[in-house]
Amino acid sequence: MSPQTGSGELPRWATIVALPLINVGIALLVSALVILSIGEDPLAALGIMVQGAFGSGLGIGYTLYYATSLIFTGLCVAVAFHAGLFNIGGEGQAYIGGLGVGIACLALGGWPWWLALPVTVLAGMAFGAAWALIPGYLQAYRGSHVVITTIMFNFIASALMVYLLVNVLINPGQMSPESREFDPSLFLPQMHEMLAVLGMEVDATPLNLSFLIALLACVLIWLYIWHTRAGFRLRTVGANEDAARYAGIDPRRTILIAMLLSGAMAGLLGLNEVQGVQHRLMLNFTAGLGFTGIAVALMGRAHPAGIVPAAILFGALYQGGAELAFEYQNISPELVVVIQGVVILFAGALEHMFKPALSRLFRPRRTIPAEA
């Protein structure tokens, strides 16, 4: 889980760029084997995926739309990482955060979106943070492991949302468990509308204003973690809790704050999915994007500058994977989940595996170890 970069022999760019690329390469290789074992041509499949994700304005729009959600959940996992916590609850926190956004939208009626936006942002963050509060508190003050409690909270969130959508928020006179549609004035402007104002013609896709909010969140998180005292405390606790305590930092308070911030980041997913695209509350709008955040954060080395490209890559996998499942009846879209798992394995658990080989490449050829 160590997010720090730079180690002995390797130049910095190699750790930051080359290692993640190797990880993606391995993940794609493993997926190629899976596709091969199904009896399809991996290269053709890759072609369809790349074409589907980046080959058209439409594809790019969808890719960036998925990436928006993944930036939020990636930041969620990354913030917790820096405090030494492994928050697997991004899925549940995003789900409840979306509930907050949805309730705000339902309550605000005909407000214009730009006036409502601060409210929905705060509601999403507050609800997401609230869902991380109990696991965070239990980790900090009772020593119950945050990994287990956040997993349990994912299940509880899912049950809670079913209850609310079936019994409370359901649109009267309708069978499917979803809320009524929000007032159109609350819809976040979509990217193609915004660009049309600037005189640019692009395909209509779900990509909306939240993409820019996600990028802004990256900048703010970067400033917070690396350029504030609170961020320094957070990283100190993550690096060495005992040392932090010795330095006068309260690790319990810091852990709690880190979990709240982490949950708040996940909660923002609701902006993109609920206010930006679905325009109503419905079941399972998180669709596993909370879990993918783990892979995004690991591949992005828990740094916003890494999370954005990692999120775009995974967004491309979602979009390309959907195209692939559409082309080949016997390839299911869950192929993306396999790739995700392999990335988590190699970028996370096996992060040191390729370092020796890579450092050998970078070592000056002629140096002979003086004392062997």
Binding site: M1, S2, V34, S37, I38, G39, F86, I88, I134, L138, R142, G143, S144, H145, V147, I148, T149, I151, M152, F153, F155, I156, A159, L160, V162, Y163, V166, N167, F291, I294, A295, L298, Q329, N330, I331, S332, E334, L335, V336, V337, V338, I339, Q340, G341, V342, I344, L345, G348, A349, L350, E351, H352, M353
Partner: protein, 322 residues
Amino acid sequence: MDFLQILSLLDSTIRLAAPLILAALAGLFSERAGVVDIGLEGKMLAGAFAAAAAGAATGSAWIGLLAGITASLVLAAVHGFACISQKGNQVVSGVAINTIAAGLTAVLAQAWFELGGRTPSLDGASRFAAIDLPLAQTLSGIPLLGPVYAELVSGHNLLVYIAFLAVPLAAWIAYRTRFGLRLRAVGENPAAVDTAGISVPVLRYQAVAIAGVLCGIAGAYLSTAQGAGFQENMTAGKGYLALAALILGKWKPVPTLMACLLFAFADALQTRLQGVPLPGIGEVPVQVIEALPYILTVLLLAGFVGRAIPPKAAGLPYTKDR
């Protein structure tokens, strides 16, 4: 609730507890040896799919069981390689295993059977059938004990008996054998084990392999004994519940068994409580009851365990030359 209803409630508790027990014991061996195992869920899922797929292909539940164990062992080997040989983060490796298993089983199920992520339903010899213990019918006439023996003890499939027998066996291995002593030592103080001239990696690989076998049986139970085939994500959090049971049981076999039975009881209760008004409360929403095992876990983890102290070296890779 009359006597027979209570019996049938306890009967389903036993059925629901079996996979939890097997998975929790898997976690026990692994974590007692110092390797944290979040990947119970994924190994069970892979085992369930492989068992159902092999069962469907060959018509034999036994070949299914073997396939389930093999699939789970492969994932256990990956986990071992990442955690023991590569000294990677054990929690992250477990999450990777779960993710890979969730994706791969869905992809392969769709590719091989084209039934929307399911395997064909199994029947006959491709499932583990209920076993009637001797004298179950003759003794069922005896009041109280007769029905208890006939309904509760008898009439389960083989894997249920294996699960319940595995508990005393695990306790015996862990506390009464040389291997068990070393296993517990390597989870507490690997350096001491190393100093004694015993290989830390070998012991840990053995523990991880035992965990793999047990998870494979648990998975095969889900798809070829309790259920009749595989469906996507059919473990539905059982691996995590098993892990919670292990923590509640403080990494000891018998308390862990009790925790598994508690979770299974909550689970058995929920199917019976749906739509039934409770005295003083009224009808409880289905979703509350469904979430009951998870809420229970959080509550128990939060308050009633006291400090659950894991094996000291759990989660820490062992580096020899330090």
